[in-house]
């Protein structure tokens, strides 16, 4: 009888241990110590930075050297240390980010313009990474939309760490952050398996998560929402040749844009479809386009426009 009681007591104790809630681990943002133990001795301590800084090749130009130095000093003052990667022809952006993720980096800071941002944001979604942008050079529309149009504003935003989750689009395994364009589309697009959209004449079709206008004339009749868990299918207005208004306004858009909302779409076409994913030209056969809700975490400023 006593033995049975002891056994029961041991079993109960083990069950209670298994059910005990595990204490959450608080990650130290500035220091992560890796320990290697052999025979109960600490052999090596390695500090791994949690920030990864990626410099666009344009940023490394002499004309930006002064601004770059000021920003680096500012980041040091704020205590935001990290490993710096200078992109070049021989370095692959995807491999750099993947290596940093393996070694423990949680935040990737991109120094560059819209093109660099688009390349970086289409890489490694699904991992617990936060992206930040420090704009340099020309064409920084994405940074302005996120409220970090100025380098120093971006540094402040990075220290404040206000994050915003944004959807990401994927087409046959290729990710896109802002838009997917199919110029002169003759194909039929089946949305959510419910209805099919087609145009009588060749029209430019855009699938938008986030609209980044190329110029002042590139406006939409509505504002896409990158956090609604849906992509916006826009059949653009018809391009009409016009003699009046000079050569700049030779082609004017007539009528209205058609707008549809979907989570999953299939493009049905006999031939390969030429498409531009965030400006990258690609060819796909019958692409399947989906949305991944809240796939990207971005650090944004107070004056964001999304």
């Amino acid at each position: 009888m006593e033995k049975k009681k002891l056994n029961d007591g041991v079993r109960v104790a083990r069950i209670r241990q298994a059910q005990a809630p595990k204490k959450p681990v608080d990650p130290d943002e500035f220091k992560k110590i890796l320990t290697l133990r052999r025979s109960n001795r600490i052999i090596r301590e390695v500090t791994v930075p949690t920030y990864s800084y990626i410099y666009d090749p344009e940023v490394q130009d002499k004309k930006y050297l002064k601004d770059l130095t000021l920003i680096e000093n500012r980041l040091t003052d704020l205590g935001l240390h990290g490993r710096i990667h200078r992109l070049s022809r021989f370095k692959n952006l995807k491999e750099i980010i993947e290596d940093d993720v393996k070694s423990g980096a949680k935040t990737v800071v991109i120094f560059g313009n819209d093109e660099t941002i688009r390349k970086a944001l289409g890489i490694c979604p699904g991992k617990e990474l936060t992206f930040a942008i420090i704009p340099f050079g020309e064409k920084n529309t994405i940074a302005k939309l996120l409220g970090v149009g100025d380098c120093f504003e971006a540094c402040q935003a990075l220290s404040a760490r206000l994050t915003y989750s944004i959807d990401l689009g994927v087409s046959n395994g290729q990710f896109f952050f802002s838009s997917l364009k199919i110029p002169h589309c003759k194909a039929e697009i089946i949305c959510d398996g419910n209805f099919a959209v087609s145009a009588y004449q060749d029209r430019d079709i855009e699938i938008l998560n986030f609209h980044v206008p190329k110029n002042e004339d590139d406006k939409l009749d509505f504002t896409p929402n990158p956090t609604d868990g849906e992509l916006d299918l826009v059949v653009r207005k018809f391009n009409k040749l016009s003699i009046f208004g000079g050569w700049r306004h030779m082609f004017s858009r007539v009528g209205r844009d058609s707008v549809f909302f979907f989570k999953e779409a299939n493009v049905v076409s006999r031939d390969q479809v030429t498409m531009f994913l965030d400006g990258r030209k690609t060819y796909q056969q019958n692409p399947k386009i989906e949305v991944i809700p809240n796939a990207l975490k971005l650090i944004v400023g107070k004056n964001r426009l999304i």
Partner: protein, 139 residues
């Protein structure tokens, strides 16, 4: 009923726009306002307002909360609130609406069921008449 901002701004507030020159086929279900100026085949359902432009053609059964029709519809139309048929509208099919406004020049070819319980009303059996000796008698 339709605020200009909602429809002129296209997809604002989740409004779907089918512009001229665009064709949609299938079961079209929307949670927001819908503006149709192109062609639509199949079925259309929306929880909010529907506007059909002058040059629009719909070959579908339509269900909407409120509607303003200025184009052509071939199919049954069921509106849970107010239905307004403008002068250029042409309707071929049954119409159910709580409130109906018909402008001069609108064309409706079909049954019209109205009232607060229009959505729940089943169609009544028609009375059979027999003509005998030039006079109609109800059977």
């Amino acid at each position: 009923m339709f605020k200009k901002d909602q429809l002129t701004e296209g997809g604002e507030n989740g409004a779907t726009v089918i512009a001229e020159g665009v064709k949609v086929e299938g079961n079209f279900i929307s949670r927001g306002n819908v503006l149709v100026e192109g062609m639509l085949k199949g079925t259309v359902k929306t929880d909010q307002d529907l506007r059909v432009g002058e040059r629009a053609k719909i070959f579908a059964n339509v269900v909407a909360a409120n509607a303003v029709i200025a184009g052509e519809i071939q199919g049954n139309l069921r509106v849970l609130g107010q239905l307004e048929m403008l002068s250029t509208s042409k309707m071929t099919g049954d119409v159910e609406a709580k409130t109906l406004i018909v402008s001069a020049g609108a064309c409706i070819n079909g049954k019209c069921i109205m009232g607060a319980d229009s959505a729940s009303v089943e169609p009544q059996a028609t009375l059979k008449t027999k003509v005998t000796n030039g006079k109609e008698k109800i059977e």
